[in-house]
Amino acid sequence: MSRGAGLPAVLQGLEGIQLPGLPSVPDHLDWPVLDPSALPLPDLSFLPGPAEVVPDLPGTAAQWAVLLPLLAAALTVGLVRRSSRAAAWATIPLTLLTLLATLWHPVTLAAREGEPPRHSSTVGPLALGELVAPLELQSGRLVVLLAVVVATVALAVQVFARWYLFYDPRYRPFAATVSLFTAAMMLVVHSDDVLLTLVGWEVMGWCSYLLIGHYSAKDSANRAATKALLVTRVADVGFVIGLVVLAAGAGSTRLSDIVEHWSGPAGGDGPWLALAMTGVVLGVAGKSAQVPFQDWLPDAMAGPTPASALIHAATMVAAGAVVLAQLLPLLQSAGPARLLLAVLTAVTVVGAALMAFAQPDLKRVLAWSTVSQVGLMLAVLAVVPAGQGPDAALMQLTSHAWFKALLFLALGWLGVLTGGTAVVHVVGGTTRFRTLRRPLAVGLLALAGVPPLVGFFSKELLLAQVEAGVEAGPGVAATVVLAAVGASVPLTAAYCMRAWLVLGRGQHPVLQQGATRIDDFFIDRDVLEEAAGVEEAESAISSSARSAVTALSVLTVLGGLLALTPVLQVELVVNVPLLAVSLLLMALAALVVWALGRGVRTRDAAARLPHPVVLAAERGLGFGRVYTTAVAVPVLAAARAVRWLDREVLDGYVRGLGHLARGLGAAGAWGHRGAPGPAMLAVLAGAVLVAAVGVVTG
């Protein structure tokens, strides 16, 4: 959306709003403030030690959050033999314990309020000579929030996969990989060391490779997995270089040391900081599927749905936002990197939202919407003014994690019932299987940002933050981001509305007279009784998997309350004009989509797009081909050249040496084939005699 010049930017507080016709807003919003320190604590005074220290688990919650999923993975791989039930018993309780550990975390943090942030050790410190590598974990307000988000999504995915993949012969490696994935993300979240960040980062990439390639007998899955691994790993070249440069400047891999060094006079505005952060931004763009690395993510839909939920919601794609949030002070002082991030994400946010609208498969719609939504959280990080925290971006991360996990799991459930997630399969899905109506509705509404769901809160905070960025220092970056974020509001609403219309279409709807009808080759299937549909949906899913979906729905509905707790330190500024305009735009977009879908049998507005456009959108605008021609073909050509040079030139010298040695040997043998004549012997004996005389007398 574009802000009209007449709309005042209200940042100073609510006093600024004096528009006529709007109700006056109270100075202080009297929301119940959830104070973690006020939560009921078990009476632990009987334990030894100072009373004010809440006895933690042995070790810290951060350590447990990383260790427990790791343990689950190790147990599943090491001990369980071919039994899905045992694998589930190894992973799900430990994931639950992980969640409990992360929930216990704020309690201990609150008890230690005012103390410096806690650090806990891992396998370090490493004796790496001049380089200080303590390998520590940290904990803090935002770390706790992210850990809880990751743990909830991981638990939901594990529980859901227990149903979704239980009869898959590879459930056991799947569960182990998901656990390892969770541990890696926990490591990134809790990391206070760039080496640990890199460890978690790369392990996640590898786990995503395994998860996407889960159905490894299918060529499409293998191709998608390889693509995901290679695209992210190529982008990680920048990430690795960036982190090494940052660590080299500070002489330490501890994050706080790095931030301190590069923010100080020694770091300065030199080219190295900009270079390093540009590298990091490139790596983040790769992992978060931002332009120009976006193409791996939609293909990653070849993996099983729970894996998609995990990768798209709280882990891999969001890891970039976590790392940039940790390095935020450095990003803020590295202008070029910031501009690069702003431009890449702005292009991605708008482009991916458009792509999402045109996809003929709802799972791919969700994939592209992930690209767009992750772009939003990264974009806002590019414009946070110096001195402010990354809270708005992390709120977006939280909200996206919950509603996107909900959408993926619910769509996966629907896919099981309808036999696929393409539009032709899922038409009328929520009318035939009414149990799914609520979770899908909640998820799509949250994605669109409709109040009072969690997506609404995150989007408003995001808009406010971007506006603050523009106010603080108008520049290219801020303007570009503002435009992109504004444009994303109606676009997101449009593809959500489209998905909902398709899902919610009734049986044999009577098409309105007067609307232009188009033939979309859709034939209604046999009518299923509604009751039968409900029954099928109810019996198809295990109660635990259903409860996972329900829990995510609840979090999606109530998650907005987080913005009011001290966990997030955001300015709760209700910018009423902005709010009104964005809601209006959303409604308008939805209306347009509805109107477009009227003449279509599937109620699919995208059916009105020309076929070449749909086809191009499904193929990701041919970016895969671009990767091939721009990178793969030249590299392979170089590889063939290397093979030839190695065999014909370098090894030629070695072979030549061999021939030379053999030739010399043969020559020697040829020279010695005859017996020496007596004269020759006499000459030799004489020479030896003369030499001997010389030695003895000399």
């Binding site: 392990v203 490894s216 007998a217 790993r233 070249v237 690795v240 170089a638 370098l650």
Partner: protein, 520 residues
């Protein structure tokens, strides 16, 4: 020295040597020992050697006996931080080699069951004792190389492995054609003997300058003498050792020899022989000739990063799986040499760690690929095979673990060496051109991405897929135990790298301090 020390070091050096001699002699008897007996004796001695080597590292005994008084050569055996990780690696490899069974090479003529006379049982047994003797000799040479503190003994031990390795490649290699086996073996002997000769000249040169062959004295006297003299000697030594490591462009023997050697031979080559080259660079060049090394370091580092990219590219189009693994060794050792050339403590630590990590990973991969090659009847990737994930989950898992480690996945051993090399290259030591080293670091980081490409390629061609024929057997028995040991080492070193880093930290610091302190 604890009571355990002396027996341990004696067993570690003498047991393989004596058993090898006994086996080799017994093989020349009219009735050679039965294959089963050779296997039990040879394998048992190898495992015992491994245990004794580990005990040596733990007890840290010191043996110092005069040997050739006229030359001032002493049989001085000791363990310090630089050699301890390599000795542990040798111990692990000894156990693995002891466990690995011998398999008849593909090229042996099939037994003609319709022949009027039964095949000679002696013919089958002939050579088996020699095979085990050769393995033990290589182990003995490796243990002695890493234990000795005398340059001449170092050279002797270094050369001790040459002939047995030649026998292993030429007689027991798994290439189907005799010419290929002998070509590979000849390549190995010719190239490494040339390198060794250069190294010997270098050793004699340094010995003449310092007047001693004691490596500890060399370390203390490091930096003495004129810079130009140091450069010449360092160049000779580095050239000789670079063949062994190998550093680009002296690497061409490696893919051939690796691809032809029997599995145990490949494991020894990758995990022990190549390590001796890097170890030699630290002991014979870096410590006694710091200025010469510093002068040549940029060139060495440049060759190393060229090797990383070169080998990474070669892996993308190599059609022979075993040779592909050999190529990846060249890339990994590029990182090790790059870290070494940087000349900082971080670099040296990373180099020593990367060296051991590469040994473990390539040993694992060679065990897996050797098993595959035996069952497939060849290692060509052009032939359609059953997907490992479908038919042999254990082999598949081991391959995934090995390839993940080869691409430098964090949490597995090689990562720490690679990232340390990148860091060291970005912040190289004094007297090194920072700009060049930073360029090398960027190139090396790009080369590391190639690792992911060939790992993904191998897994896609071998591990994934839907073919289930021809069926092959999964890992079991001693090979499984060996694989599990190596896999545990890859994982253990990756998760807890401090294990080795702490072991070598003290010696690395004192080695570099002596080098920089003694300079003019």
């Amino acid at each position: 020295m604890s009571a355990l020390g002396l027996p341990a070091v004696l067993v570690a050096v003498l047991l393989p040597l004596l058993t090898a001699v006994a086996l080799a002699v017994a093989d020349r008897f009219p009735t050679p020992p039965a294959p089963g007996l050779s296997r039990w004796v040879g394998g048992g001695a190898a495992v015992l050697t491994g245990l004794a080597t580990a005990a040596t590292v733990w007890a840290r005994p010191e043996v110092d006996l005069p040997w050739i008084p006229a030359l001032g050569v002493r049989l001085h055996l000791a363990v310090d931080g630089v050699s301890a990780p390599l000795l542990l690696l040798t111990a692990l490899v000894a156990v693995v080699v002891g466990l690995l069974p011998w398999h008849p090479p593909e090229h042996d003529p099939p037994v003609d069951r319709t022949a009027p006379l039964p095949p000679d049982p002696l013919e089958a047994a002939r050579g088996r004792a020699t095979y085990h003797a050769c393995l033990l000799l290589v182990l003995a040479g490796a243990v002695l190389t890493f234990l000795t503190r005398d340059a001449v003994v170092f050279f002797v031990a270094f050369e001790l492995v040459l002939v047995p390795m030649w026998v292993l490649v030429a007689r027991h290699g798994d290439a189907t054609r005799r010419a290929a086996r002998e070509g590979a073996a000849l390549r190995f002997v010719l190239v490494t003997a040339t390198g060794s000769t250069l190294m010997l000249v270098g050793i004699l040169g340094v010995a003449t300058r310092t007047g001693t062959t004691d490596l500890d004295r060399w370390e203390q006297l490091g930096g003495a003498g004129t810079a130009s003299g140091q450069v010449l000697l360092a160049a000779l030594l580095l050239l000789g050792l670079a063949v062994k490591v190998p550093v680009w462009p002296l690497h061409t023997w490696l893919p051939w020899v690796h691809a032809t050697a029997p599995t145990a031979g490949s494991v020894l080559l990758a995990a022990v022989l190549l390590k001796m080259g890097v170890y030699g660079m630290v002991r014979l060049v870096l410590a006694p000739l710091p200025q010469g090394f510093a002068t040549l370091a940029p060139l060495l580092a440049g060759l190393a990063v060229t090797g990383i990219v070169w080998a990474g590219l070669a892996c993308l189009v190599e059609r022979d799986l075993k040779r592909l693994i050999a190529w990846s060794s060249v890339a990994h050792l590029g990182f090790v040499v790059l870290a070494l050339a940087a000349g900082t403590e971080t670099g040296l630590q990373a180099a020593l760690f990367g060296n051991v990590a590469h040994g473990v990973v390539s040993a694992l991969l060679f065990v897996v690929v050797g098993e595959l090659k035996r069952q497939w009847g060849g290692a060509s990737l052009d032939t359609a095979r059953a997907a490992l994930r479908e038919v042999t989950p254990r082999l598949g898992f081991a391959l995934v673990l090995g390839m993940a480690a080869a691409m430098g996945l964090p949490g597995l051993a090689p990562f720490w060496g690679e990232i340390g090399a990148l860091y060291a290259s970005w912040a190289p030591g004094e007297a090194r051109p920072t700009g060049w080293f930073r360029v090398f670091m960027v190139v090396a980081a790009i080369g590391a991405a190639l690792g992911a490409a060939y790992a993904a390629r191998v897994l896609r061609e071998v591990w994934a897929g839907d073919r289930t024929t021809p069926l092959i057997a999964d890992l079991r028995g001693p090979t499984l135990v060996a694989t599990v040991l190596l896999g545990a080492a890859v994982l253990g070193l990756g998760v807890y790298p401090a294990l080795l880093l702490d072991l070598s930290a003290g010696s690395v610091a004192s080695l570099l301090a002596a080098g920089s302190g003694g300079g003019p």
